[in-house]
């Protein structure tokens, strides 16, 4: 490094420290995060009469998390994410119906099957504009829905897949009618997969995804194999969605065509948007918000709660999604407070950041 006549300051030796801490900090869990999961675990004991709905929330949360991986981190707009959810659900349901009643086995198989479907279809979303991606993802979900509808000898068609009976989780915990086992099971799976996802998004791989979302042209110029990364994350997200679908099938012991329907894909997008994309918790918070809203609104206007959901979407977009979700993102330890502490070490202008 040549002598530098115009540098404003000599660089403090702690720069390396700062860099490392600043990078690693994103991998650390913040207090709010730990609190979030602690509360989630506490609901197992504190809200026994709500386990059925909580189970649904956990599943929707996982599903939205999977959409976040491709939409929030890789920037792929999908209107057909239910394809993987539904595929996983049918996979788990069919397995159980044919005597493979172990839930974990079902999860693994569904995840693999959905991942395979995701891998194959990922090549369809690499090209084209947002609009073509939208149409292609939508088309894939519709095709699957059509197949499920026609292949009634295996899927039960319009009547749904009935007669699923699940074995106990780990051979120990039988599913009960109050949904306690179901909720504990779904929450645990969601939590474990969340940890994995959280780890992945702060890895170099995750960083490269964000760079692709922000600017694919430059990402390529930095030497990132853009298409391969997109295929990888699309496959991963499909597996996640497949697991979410499998959880639904296993805990409700029923699968209907509804799991592949367009409104599933649209709803999950809404869930993610309510919570905010691109920081992982959006899907979970959105799932809570969505279900609570649905609860309140359908109690108020039973048949027409969709109207209010629609209104919320419209308002959300008009007001600006980012403005709302930026606040929620403070949950992750990328908060300004810690930065300010670091700022003293370096001659930084962070304070001016808005």
């Amino acid at each position: 490094m040549p002598a530098d006549p115009i540098a404003k300051t000599a660089v403090p030796p702690s720069t390396a420290d700062f860099v490392r801490r600043s990078l690693v900090r994103k991998g650390r869990w913040g207090v709010a995060e730990i609190g979030f999961w602690a509360v989630a675990a506490a609901t197992l004991f504190l809200l026994p009469e709500r386990h059925l709905i909580l189970n649904e929330i956990a599943i929707i949360g996982l599903f939205a998390l999977s959409l976040d991986l491709i939409l929030g981190y890789a920037g792929i707009v999908s209107l057909g994410h239910a394809a993987f959810f539904g595929f996983g659900a049918y996979m788990a349901g069919i397995l159980a119906k044919h005597g493979f009643a172990d839930p974990l086995l079902g999860l693994v198989v569904s995840a693999l099957a959905a991942a395979l479907l995701g891998f194959v279809t990922s090549f369809l979303v690499l090209r084209g504009t947002d609009l073509t991606k939208l149409m292609v993802t939508l088309g894939v979900a519709l095709v699957l829905g059509e197949i499920a509808n026609q292949a009634s000898w295996v899927t039960g068609g319009a009547d749904g897949l009935q007669g699923i009976s699940m074995g106990p989780v780990l051979g120990l915990f039988e599913f009960d009618i109050f949904g306690t086992t179901a909720y504990a099971y779904s929450l645990t799976v969601t939590f474990l997969l969340f940890i994995v996802a959280r780890r992945i998004v702060v890895s170099p791989f995750g960083l490269s995804l964000r760079s692709i979302r922000d600017n694919p042209l430059r990402a390529r110029a930095v030497g990132i194999p853009v298409n391969r990364r997109l295929v990888a994350v699309y496959t991963l997200a499909a597996a996640y969605a497949g697991v979410a679908g499998a959880l639904l099938a296993q805990t409700t012991q029923f699968v209907s065509l509804d799991v592949l329907a367009f409104h599933r894909s649209a709803d999950i997008m809404l869930v993610l948007v309510i919570g905010g994309a691109g920081y992982l918790y959006g899907g979970l918070l959105g799932a809570i918000g969505f279900k609570v809203l649905q609860d309140i609104l359908s109690a108020w206007t039973p048949q027409y709660w969709q109207f209010w959901i629609g209104l919320i979407l419209v308002v959300l977009v008009l007001v600006g999604r980012e403005r709302l979700t930026d606040k929620a993102k403070a949950l992750r330890p990328r908060s300004r407070g810690r930065l300010a502490g670091q700022a003293k070490v370096l001659p930084t202008t962070t304070a001016g950041e808005v």
Partner: protein
């Protein structure tokens, strides 16, 4: 066989009238408006209500089925849509899905969820035999009206000052503004006419497509197929795509009822993969 072809053409024509507004907003103005079907539904309900509650004759309701959605479209464009032209496609998708949800629930609330039936005037009912083909009178009527509309639209877009201004405004809004073209007005007018046409299509199609509150969702994918497969550089592209889709759908439902939708969706995916710009568009 020929009857199916004929029905398919009528269906395709109808799809075109329904979707051509979307071809302009989505194709030319680059706005992903998933709520387009809601305007079509509005037109259908205008006709149904006027006929069934107020006993107006079918033909007399058609102008209103155009005008009411057109004004609704105009109002929404001026107040909401225009703020979103510059936003991301994701925002546009979310916004318009929101509108669809609202429209579906609102219509359900106001009119109930049942199918709306309309009674066609006697002279449009029944079939006649022409050259050995069974031809439905109502479908002939649709083909005639839609055919006239297609020609008129094509002339407006290619021959009139409005058409050239629209194309200028779409190509480069800033330059168009510099030339003294009122871009906002042009977009609003186009949007209103597109919505009106959708409404007219909804009214004409009530008998064939059915009309209930889920109409915008059910046919959204068809409209999108017409536009994306047809490409958006001309209106002939969407027109041909409509005809193909119409014929394929009718024939598919007749010959292979179990695979019809499957084939259409698969074809759409294949076309989009091979020709992302649309089947009839020249690669840009």
């Amino acid at each position: 066989m020929l009857t199916i072809l004929f029905d398919g053409i009528a269906y395709g024509m109808l799809l075109f009238v329904l979707a051509c507004g979307l071809a302009v907003t989505l194709g030319l103005m680059n706005f992903v408006n998933l709520a387009h079907g809601a305007f079509a539904m509005a037109g259908g309900y205008v006709t149904a209500v006027l006929m069934n509650r107020y006993g107006m004759p079918f033909l007399a309701t058609l102008p209103l089925a155009f005008i009411v959605p057109a004004f609704v479209g105009l109002a929404l464009e001026r107040t909401l849509y225009k703020q979103l032209y510059a936003r991301s496609h994701l925002d546009q998708v979310l916004f318009s899905i929101g509108l669809v949800f609202m429209a579906v629930a609102a219509v359900d609330y106001a009119m109930g969820s049942q199918q709306q039936l309309i009674q066609l005037p006697g002279w449009l009912q029944g079939r006649v035999e022409v050259l050995g083909i069974q031809v439905g009178l109502y479908r002939s009527f649709i083909i005639a009206i839609c055919g006239v509309l297609v020609v008129v639209l094509q002339l407006i877009l290619s021959k009139t000052r409005f058409g050239s201004r629209l194309r200028a405004a779409v190509d480069d809004p800033r330059v168009a503004r510099g030339l003294g073209i009122n871009v906002g007005l042009i977009f609003a007018t186009t949007f209103a006419v597109g919505s009106g046409l959708a409404g007219l299509g909804g009214a004409l199609g009530a008998e064939i497509l059915g009309l209930d509150p889920t109409f915008p969702l059910k046919f959204m994918i068809y409209f999108l197929i017409v536009v994306t497969v047809g490409g958006t550089t001309t209106i002939t592209g969407p027109f041909l795509a409509s005809l193909i889709l119409g014929i394929a759908d009718v024939a598919g439902k007749y010959y292979v009822p179990s695979l019809g939708a499957f084939i259409i969706y698969t074809l759409m995916i294949v076309v989009l993969i091979l020709r992302p710009q649309g089947l009839f568009a020249r690669a840009r």
